[in-house]
């Protein structure tokens, strides 16, 4: 419950404050969202597996977002353009699918 409230408060904060995102951050936002989705699905699966730990969830979430942003930054600096962000998206995409299917097996037993 407290999590849902905090989530809602966060969304409202983000929408309501409407912070002007600096231009250099903008390329990292989509990657951060994908990393966040991965963390959410991972946390949900851990919850269903009965091994959820909120601290691990927060740390993995924050570090995934930061590392994903760093990899994209590295790609930009190295001049390989979007290729490293493609790598990040692919890896997170695979993990999201894997966790989603594990969650599905838990929920529907199929």
């Amino acid at each position: 419950m407290i999590g849902v409230i905090a989530l809602a408060v966060g969304v409202v904060l983000g929408l309501w404050l409407d912070p002007t995102v600096p231009d250099w951050v903008q390329p990292y936002l989509p990657i951060a969202v994908v990393a966040a989705l991965d963390a959410v699905l991972g946390g949900l699966r851990a919850r269903l597996d009965g091994i959820f730990d909120a601290k691990v969830f927060v740390v993995s979430f924050v570090s995934n977002v930061l590392i994903a942003a760093l990899i994209v930054l590295l790609g930009d600096e190295l001049g390989v353009g979007g290729q490293l962000s493609t790598a990040v998206v692919v890896v997170f995409g695979i993990r999201i699918f894997g966790n989603a299917s594990a969650i599905r097996r838990h929920l529907f037993k199929a």
């Binding site: 905090a6 809602a8 983000g14 699966r45 730990d53 979430f61």
Partner: protein, 286 residues
């Protein structure tokens, strides 16, 4: 055994990528607790912090995406539609302008052919129209074709013919007495530029190799004078040095289209109702 090791490395990487989706931190934390209950308050606080972060990230990203993406898409679609509509408009207006110009011509001819003064004005007008490439012209002339040797064509770094070479060639044709000149099918009018910007541009329209220059005038006279000009000398040298192709042929009938109409920037109403033939043109280029 290096092969074995490499196989193991790649297979474990793949296995991890394809099979190990859950952050190993969860399992590790679970093992560390070893069955002890999770501290309730700490869990709640951590979870609230995480959810807050997550929510604000999603909110910011949503606002950002909404502000950026659809706006850009919409603007682009609007611009494309605008361009299409304007292009259709331009075409319709161009057709109408051509039709009106034809009627104007007919009316002018009908009004002026009556007396000697009128005919003199018409002659002067025709001369000016030819000189400013406002009307298509037909007649005998020279066709000069220049180009880099075929095996080098297309490699930009090896292009030997520059805009200034073509400029010299064009000026040589004028100097030889050409009455009208076209480069690559584009008629030259007094303010046409031949220049290089990426490729060769004549009147801001691209032309490709080999460059074909057509000049109207008496072919024999033109050729005789042209052979003595700078342009001819320059390209003769190029032929020897770089194998540049350079051909001159006499053509019995050349058809040069009119140059696109130049919009007047300054128009002066002549003082007399009908100007004598020697008066300065009523419309000048600048």
């Amino acid at each position: 055994m290096p092969e074995r090791r490499r196989y193991d490395l790649s297979s474990s990487l793949l296995r991890q990528l394809l099979g190990d989706h859950l952050d190993s931190g969860y399992a590790a934390a679970h093992r560390e607790r070893a069955g002890r209950p999770v501290p309730w308050l700490a869990q709640r606080v951590w979870f609230a912090v995480g959810a807050l972060l997550l929510g604000s990230l999603m909110g910011v990203a949503a606002v950002n995406a909404a502000a950026r993406q659809p706006g850009a898409e919409e603007t682009k679609r609007g611009l494309v539609a605008g361009v299409r509509a304007e292009r259709a408009d331009t075409e319709a207006l161009a057709r109408r302008a051509a039709e009106l110009a034809k009627r104007l011509d007919e009316a002018r001819t009908a009004a002026l052919t009556g007396d000697g003064q009128g005919r003199a004005v018409l002659d002067e007008l025709a001369r000016l129209e030819r000189a400013t490439a406002a009307v298509p012209v037909t007649g005998p002339g020279l066709r000069v074709t220049v180009g880099d040797p075929p095996e080098r064509r297309g490699t930009r770094s090896r292009e030997n013919i520059l805009d200034r070479d073509l400029q010299v060639l064009v000026n040589s044709l004028w100097a030889s007495g050409a009455e009208a000149v076209a480069v690559g099918g584009h008629r030259l009018q007094p303010r046409t530029a031949v220049r290089q910007a990426g490729g060769m541009l004549v009147d801001n329209r691209p032309v490709t190799q080999p460059y074909v220059l057509e000049a109207i005038g008496s072919p024999e006279e033109l050729e005789t004078r042209f052979v003595g000009t700078d342009g001819h000398g320059r390209f003769a040298t190029f032929t020897q040095l770089y194998g540049t192709t350079f051909t001159i042929e006499r053509v019995g009938e050349l058809r040069l289209a009119a140059a696109p109409a130049e919009e007047p920037r300054l128009a002066v109403v002549p003082a007399a109702p009908i100007a004598p033939p020697t008066a300065p043109p009523t419309t000048t280029g600048r």
